[in-house]
């Protein structure tokens, strides 16, 4: 127990964790900027709807481009909810309490938007319902749709259940809130009065959700990896794509959580709750999952690189020394090997250094998906001939880039809204864990 903990009262915790819940100028400006940016990107999408997918750089050979690699990235980032809440939580790690809601918020935001990302890649988005009407269970797309919806619902519930108690506290304890907001909080609190029966139902439900979350999360990214692995193309035809993608997802997700922790800590003045020790521990988590990912990377490149079968040889030459070499080595060294080495030292697990490392890791994680999805298609089994030059080499267009940025803006908006109107750190759980005197529900 630190000095701070001794001085904590329930009122102090409540005020610390909820003082940011107010509509202020900064929030309005930030949302205004995001809305304007989103509107611009949606205009780009309207052009695509009118003209066709041809406004993007994708063509008959590189047929999956930014949209699809972005989709993989979004699914990957959403997996962090499982790692923090389910894996670490079920393993009995107490220190994750203040991070769980951040992780769940990120999971919900990325999972929700991932579905939209994939719609932006459809040639006939108005036929989306056909997937449900004519869906064929042997297509991995059906599996993907099923598990993503499942995972999203589970994550949403896991975000909501711990909020019930917090809502009950806020609508009773926090003044200066607009009355409409209080009405929302009250209805969301479902008449929670902190009686043992209610707490039992909630904690049991959360536990069931945490257990269900593990297979659901493993499934979404494994199935997403199978969109590639079920083909016979060099670079995709791999039996370890499932664990390769899942471990990579934990790297991206951990980095995203660390970045979010840093900004919430600073903007919402949560230094007493998100301590340096939390960054240190998340730094160790990031290093660990990165090492696992590095192990799968070595398998994924060394084994085919040793045999050099014809198609694999062309693919790997392009990555190691060819057109994609700069990107490849920046991602592998700058986004994986170097972060692992740095994170071994305590200094680099302090908030600011680990923020910089996490940003590098997250950017690299995005390019990594690009490197998995695109180069393979530039080298099919049969030569690409008698087609325009832009069929042979993929280069994303401006419109395509804007449509790719749109989901990021949406994720930021969702995270902003959730974190602005709800405590970033679980209020009730923190109070219980700190053992402070409890609010009396009348």
């Amino acid at each position: 127990m630190t000095m701070d903990d001794n001085n904590l009262t329930f009122d102090k915790i409540t005020s610390d964790l909820t003082h940011h819940i107010r509509i202020n100028k900064g929030f309005l400006i930030w949302m205004g900027v995001l809305t304007a940016a989103l509107a611009t990107c949606l205009y780009a999408y309207s052009l695509q709807l009118r003209t066709g997918l041809g406004v993007a750089g994708i063509r008959d050979y590189v047929t999956w481009g930014l949209y699809l690699s972005n989709f993989v990235f979004f699914v990957a980032a959403s997996l962090i909810g499982m790692l923090v809440s389910a894996v670490l939580g079920l393993a009995g790690m107490k220190w994750i309490t203040p991070i769980t809601r951040i992780a769940e918020t990120i999971a919900v935001a990325f999972a929700a938007v991932a579905g939209l990302v994939i719609v932006s890649d459809m040639g006939r988005p108005e036929r989306l319902a056909y997937v449900f009407i004519y869906g064929r269970p042997q297509s991995p797309i059906l599996w993907d749709v099923t598990v993503i919806i499942t995972y999203f619902v589970l994550s949403l519930l896991l975000l909501y259940l711990p909020l019930i108690a917090d809502m009950a506290i806020i609508h009773r304890k926090v003044d200066k809130l607009p009355s409409w907001l209080k009405v929302i909080y009250k209805s969301l609190s479902l008449n929670f009065t902190d009686n043992p029966a209610q707490n039992k139902v909630i904690s049991r439900s959360i536990r069931i959700l945490l257990i269900l979350l593990v297979p659901a999360a493993l499934s979404i990214h494994t199935v997403t990896s199978w969109l590639f692995a079920v083909t016979s193309r060099a670079g995709w035809d791999s039996t370890i794509f499932g664990p390769y993608f899942v471990s990579g997802a934990f790297v991206a997700g951990s980095a995203a959580v660390i970045i979010a922790m840093f900004f919430f800590r600073k903007n919402y003045r949560l230094e007493n709750y998100l301590t340096e020790s939390h960054f240190d521990k998340m730094g160790k988590v990031l290093a660990t999952v990165s090492m696992v990912y590095l192990y799968f990377n070595i398998n994924e490149y060394l084994v085919p690189g040793y045999k050099l079968q014809r198609a694999d040889a062309i693919h790997l030459a392009e990555l190691f020394t060819g057109k994609d070499a700069l990107r490849f080595w920046l991602v592998q060294i700058g986004g994986l090997i170097l972060p692992i080495l740095l994170l071994l030292f305590g200094y680099f697990r302090k908030p600011l250094p680990i923020l910089v490392i996490s940003i590098a890791v997250l950017v690299a994680a995005w390019f990594k998906r690009y490197l998995i999805v695109i180069p393979t298609q530039e080298h099919p089994f049969l030569p690409i001939q008698h087609v325009p030059h832009n069929f042979m080499v993929y280069s994303p267009t401006l419109i395509e880039s804007m449509i790719t940025i749109a989901p990021f803006i949406m994720v930021l908006m969702i995270i902003t809204l959730i974190s602005k109107f709800f405590p970033v750190i679980p209020l009730h759980e923190t109070a219980v864990e700190k053992g402070v005197e409890h609010i009396k529900f009348e």
Binding site: T51, G54, W64, I133, S139, I141, L382, V387, N390
Partner: protein, 333 residues
């Protein structure tokens, strides 16, 4: 019948409760008689109606012969139907075309043989194909590739179309059954169904599939044209297209567009069940098995297990010298 007897019984009971000699009661009795008669009339009407109805049912039964036939329904169930109820069902127009394009041509197993020793990259097959299917110059159902397998082996021309695999990876991954394998061996596309996810393109190891990234060629001119899956026209924005083995031509008993257009005798096309293929240029029909056996026929990437329906004859003793091909397609589309 028992309804009537019940009624009589009740009426009898009513009569027994009152003495007929009572004058007060005699008026009531008249009224009671009236009611009794009314009741009887009602019963009579009901009985008559029931009789008429059952007579009607009997008549209706008499219309059928009672002789039942066992039939197979479209979804594969055996049902028994009265022989007189059977009416022949003729499909017309769109319905006919849709069911035909899914069912294929009965009894056939289409197969193609491409003789690489004869191809000089005249590209006549490509032009005929693109004309028939309303394709732009850079959109190929059939494309002739300039191949060189290893640095020290000779280059050759290789026409490449959809291989109409018997184990088609594209069909397996399609989420909406928009691309399908017919019993006659042809893999078709229904572009009214296609959602444009392009998973089939990613799955195809032969790069056989193309996509309508932009408004198809002369889209305005073909607007309103009935969709024909066996020809895959009109092409539709945001959907897949590919070689169809000219299913529309086969239905008319003709050879595919490319096979017919080849000036150099490269293509043989026919039916595996008949073990016969016809050369599109010379119109000579030969035994499929003998042609493949005598000339060392092979398939593209059989190790992938896709089981193609297109065979190649190796490029030995080539009739034409190999020339680097010039591209006619635009720089950027």
């Amino acid at each position: 019948m028992h309804i009537i007897s019940d009624k009589n019984q009740i009426m009898e009971e009513n009569n027994n409760t009152h003495s007929p000699n009572d004058p007060e009661k005699s008026k009531a009795s008249t009224r009671r008689n009236f009611l009794k008669n009314l009741g009887l009339a009602g019963v009579g009407v009901a009985t008559g109606a029931a009789a008429l109805y059952s007579g009607h049912i009997f008549e209706a039964k008499k219309e059928a012969t009672g002789e039942s036939k066992v039939l197979l329904t479209q979804d594969g169930k055996l049902v028994s139907v009265d022989s007189l109820e059977i009416k022949s069902h003729e499909k017309t127009g769109e319905d006919l075309r849709e069911s035909q394009s899914r069912e294929g041509i009965p009894g056939r197993r289409w197969v193609m043989v491409t003789d690489l020793s004869k191809c000089r990259n005249a590209r006549k097959c490509i032009n005929a194909c693109q004309d028939a299917h309303q394709l732009r110059p850079e959109q190929y159902h059939m494309n002739t590739l300039q191949m060189q397998d290893t640095p020290n082996t000779a280059p050759y021309n290789m026409p490449k179309n959809c291989q109409h695999c018997d184990n088609p990876p594209c069909v397996a991954v399609c989420p909406v059954d928009a691309t399908y394998k017919r019993p006659d061996g042809i893999v078709l596309i229904e572009n009214d169904r296609c959602i444009g996810c392009r998973f089939c393109m990613a799955a195809c190891p032969y790069s056989a599939r193309i996509f309508n990234w932009l408004e198809p060629k002369d889209a305005a001119a073909h607007q309103g044209q009935d969709y024909n899956a066996e020809l895959n026209v009109p092409q539709k924005l945001g959907t897949i297209s590919k070689c169809l083995f000219s299913a529309d031509r086969l239905r008319e008993g003709k050879l595919p567009y490319c096979v017919e257009a080849c000036p150099n005798g490269v293509y043989y096309f026919g039916d595996e069940n008949e073990d016969a293929v016809t050369n599109g240029t010379t119109k000579e029909t030969v035994r499929l098995s003998k042609l493949l056996r005598d000339n060392g026929g092979y398939q593209l990437m059989p190790e992938l297990g896709t089981k193609p329906r297109v065979y190649y004859l190796p490029p030995k003793n080539r009739l034409f010298p190999f020339e680097e091909a010039k591209d006619a397609t635009p720089e950027k589309v």
